[in-house]
Amino acid sequence: MSGVVPAMAVGRVAHSRVTLLLAGATAAGVVLVALAGPLLATGSPTAPVGLPFDAPSGAHPAGTDAVGRDVLSRLLHGGRAVVLLAVGATALASLCGALLGVFAGLIDRRIGELVVRVVDVVAVVPGLLVLLVLAAGFPGSDSAVLVGVALVSLPFSVRVVRAATRQVAVRGFVDTARARGDSRWRIIRHDLVPNIAGTMLAEAGIRFSAAVHLTATAGFLGLGAGPPTPNWGRMVSENASGIGLTIWPVLLPALLLVLFTVSVNLLADDLAARWADR
């Protein structure tokens, strides 16, 4: 099953300062809306307040959705799930990937390859299928989405960390430290981690952009915490039928997700390109 996981740096490009500044500001803005939104919202995100698919008005600046709920309140509440699940899944995958990758990189080459083979079993499954199967076993569970997204990311993390570890391990100073009688744990902390931290960070960036993509899609497909919980991805599918009446309940969450995914991808791309150059 070679080539399932492409190399991290393939086709990555550094971007201009203006692009990066714009992308950074956009991503930060969307995260702010997602995390601080529930504090700013005045109305309830789940209570029906009017007719379905009402046009924007003074009381409801973004109109109402398919069951007459306030779109603005749902927007302000609906980003938390997407952002936090993506962050959580990336953190989980990066942590497990780092542990497994360092382990697989430092020990015997054959056992290391075995570890990669085992996690690669997941890599042949289309990512969305992993989420769907988990959601079938654990319906309505956000944790299942988090674990699923982390599982999809894990093979990439393990491979990249293992490759970086092996590159560092063949340089002289690891052998020197070993000869000095340093413990394995000390070697990992003092000699290995500082040298692979950049690669791990760049890899986490790419994994995060993929995680945002997947969590948004999971919301759209109705996986994770069920209705009436607001979720930007699910708002698109919930309100798609009313697109001829009012476009806002679909357009606004879609716009936020597009801004977020594009800016995060640009930042991750740049991060990876810069680290690949070193």
Partner: protein, 320 residues
Amino acid sequence: MSLLRVAALVARRTTAAVLVLAVLSVLIFTVTEVLPGDAVGVIAGADATVSEREQLRRELGLDAHPVRRYADWAAAALRGDLGTGYVGRREVTEVLVDRLPNSLLLTTLAMALAVPLAVAIGLVAGMRAGRRTDRLVSTATLVAVGVPEFLVAALLVAVFAAGLGLLPEVSLVPLGGRPWDQPEILVLPVAALSVAALAAAARLLRASVAEIAAAPYVEAARLRGVTGLRLAVRHVLPNAVAPAVQVTAVMFAGLIGGAVVVETLFNYPGIGYELQQAVANRDVPMVQGLALATCATALVLLLIGDLAQLALSPAVRGRP
């Protein structure tokens, strides 16, 4: 390389794929039926009585030991019987046979659109690596890869269906009918599905072309005065094709995920739509069967890609 070694290699890769599928079948079964513990509670609902639950448990055969249940399920699957779905008592195999042609049509059309365009874009950008065209293409494809498929699809619907009224919003197929009887319902799903695949493949091809374009032999050809299209097509492309074939297989496997989204959004009667519906309806046997079949399809595609790359690339062929 002798024929015997080729045969041994093919056999080894195939065995590996079968083993992976076996492991995946255990994982699918465990996650959907064993780990949740109470599949009956999910099906019967919260207000079912204890005796109702017990009866349902026996009817569904859920009172047996999990290992026994897996063995029965796997043995039946090998005979081509994937069980019966809870919803509408439809046989999983029948659903598969009925929906597979629709999904294959959608993905094949998306590939037919994406691959030639990806080759052209990858070639143009890769031959101009680092220049303005390349930067433009790299950024545009990055955006297209990053935006989730359902948003691309929703945008297409908003513009071409709701806005201009040119094409249908949903791809409804009458009972017993086939999507190819009304080609207009295929346009938007195919377009939505090809965008991400096209962008992803163009990026990988661009990287591959850029690497080969920097090789000494290409420089030598350039010095001999070979330029432009001739240089790209005659000198660079042949060596970029082997990795590209595998990319295509990986991309096709990736399309399976995208198809779930696009089929759901357009109500297109394919495997992905059925799978999403089965998950929403908590129809465990249907999820298990469709997921297993999808994994098998992905594995076959990756295997074909692996072997095709082997056949096309002299460098890889030489390795044992």
